[in-house]
């Protein structure tokens, strides 16, 4: 694991930036993120399979796996922490092949996802699960851009400032979950 220095990065992500990231890097993201979770992913991948145009240009973008709580009056968004990424594993490779460059969630990814990430240069970040009130402070603007009928599961375009994440899977096979457990496991 690397030292706890924070790097500031802006989205969309380029291959150069991605090549420079390693598992364990602490990052603050500034720029645009798009939200999607189970139901949104299902529709996006159906659109790809049907040859339809996606509701936003996915090239270089970062998807945040989140279904926020409703915004209180005067606030851009409600509480907004990451959901479990494993549920997106069946869908993610399709999106990565269309140019998706980053994903933010929590929990381990399937082997197929990690392999596709390495091949197409895509990074998997984790946000701290369950600190949704704190994370919402980093979201300055939120706008539903597709699938409004899905409520919390609609696709939103977020503008974030210094949104804190950590690199879990880099494109070199690094995996912070595995490394972290290895370092602190005391089981025989």
């Amino acid at each position: 694991m690397q030292e706890l220095k924070i790097r500031k990065i802006t989205t969309p992500l380029t291959d150069d930036v991605i090549s420079d990231l390693r598992a364990g890097d602490k990052i603050e993201l500034t720029g645009v993120l798009y939200t999607a979770r189970d139901a949104g992913h299902k529709r996006l991948v159906k659109m790809i399979k049907d040859g339809d145009k996606l509701p936003f240009d996915i090239k270089g973008q970062v998807l945040y796996f989140v279904g926020p709580t409703p915004a209180k009056p005067g606030m851009p968004i409600g509480s907004a922490g990451p959901t479990t990424s494993g549920r997106m594993d069946l869908y993610s490779p399709h999106l990565i092949k269309c140019g998706l460059k980053g994903m933010i969630g929590k929990g381990a990814r399937a082997k197929e996802v990690i392999e596709t990430m390495r091949e197409y240069k895509c990074i998997y970040f984790a946000a701290i699960g369950g600190v949704a009130a704190l994370l919402s402070k980093k979201i300055k603007k939120a706008e539903v851009i597709a699938f409004e009928d899905l409520g919390t599961e609609a696709i939103r375009r977020l503008e974030v400032e210094n949104f804190p994440v950590v690199v879990i899977n880099d494109i070199y096979g690094g995996d912070l979950y595995k490394e972290g457990v290895k370092q602190y496991s005391t089981r025989e």
């Binding site: 479990t84 600190v131 089981r187």
Partner: protein
């Protein structure tokens, strides 16, 4: 006979849903402080600090602690000398949930059926309601906010009696290991042992409602809880799975008599934001 009105139950449940989602109880905060003292990983310590900061923000600003404001799971004890006036108990609970999730700006996370269209019911109902008839003239309402991330990592196994205590321990530890970062550790591990297939699951869920870290009243069960906590914390998963000493805040075990042929065991994990609330009318 004590009369309790439908509207009183609705009001109480509405408040419970909002309070449980905005503010952690003292036992949970105290368990964070103990965790912070124990944790050796610098990243783990930092995560625990953020978890505590999140709790302060949510409480102060009246915001949900987590975007997953859960399925509302109720355990209700109805005294035999209570009469509920003005409507059905289940309707009152669901109306309270409906009002609480709407007025509290909580996320609606329930779909009408599991496999066809999965359309959101848009008011977080129906709640899961377990009702038990007890002696006395009180109505006790206990609420557990069950988020999807940790609920999905629950597991149940019908062990053989020959598997014994060792088999039980192994299953509990393996369930926490398999869950990894998904249930937002440090978790509260609810363990049910005994009963039958459905009873053991209820025991595991019910165990999550105990104040965090309060040992079981029976000494041998409390010793088992302590041993399981030690084993789980040797896994190295740590706060939110990034590696560390504190994988669980507590292990709570509930037991029940069972069939001579059976040894059911169930594990229900609660995330670090252990949201539970209890009131008595």
């Amino acid at each position: 006979m004590k009369r309790i009105h439908y509207n009183d139950i609705v009001d109480k449940v509405r408040e419970m849903c909002i309070e449980a989602n905005y503010s952690l109880s003292k036992d949970v905060i105290a368990s964070y402080e103990r965790a912070l003292e124990m944790e050796k990983s610098p990243l783990g310590q930092e995560v625990l600090g953020q978890i505590m900061e999140n709790a302060r923000i949510a409480d102060k600003e009246g915001m949900p602690l987590c975007q997953d404001t859960g399925l509302s799971v109720f355990f209700i004890e109805v005294g035999q000398d209570v009469s509920i006036a003005g409507g059905l108990l289940d309707d009152a609970i669901n109306e309270g949930v409906r009002q609480g999730y709407n007025t509290g700006y909580l996320r609606k996370s329930v779909v009408q059926e599991p496999v066809f269209e999965r359309r959101n019911t848009s008011d977080n109902t129906p709640a899961i309601i377990h009702t038990e008839l007890v002696s006395g003239d009180r109505l006790k309402i206990m609420l557990d906010i069950a988020g999807g991330g940790c609920e999905n990592m629950a597991a149940l196994k019908m062990l053989r009696p020959a598997d014994g205590l060792e088999g039980v321990k192994q299953f509990v530890v393996e369930t926490v290991r398999n869950a990894g970062a998904n249930p937002c550790p440090p978790v509260v591990v609810g363990v049910g042992i005994g009963g039958d297939f459905e009873k053991v699951a209820m025991l595991a869920k019910r165990a999550l409602l105990r104040p965090v870290g309060q040992p079981h009243s029976k000494l041998e069960v409390a010793a088992l809880e302590e041993d399981l906590l030690k084993k789980v914390n040797q896994l190295g998963i740590g706060p939110v799975g990034l590696g560390g000493i504190v994988t669980a805040l507590a292990v709570h075990v509930e037991m029940h008599p069972c069939h001579i042929a059976s040894l059911p065991v169930a594990v229900n994990l609660g995330c670090h934001s252990s949201r539970h609330k209890s009131i008595t009318i």
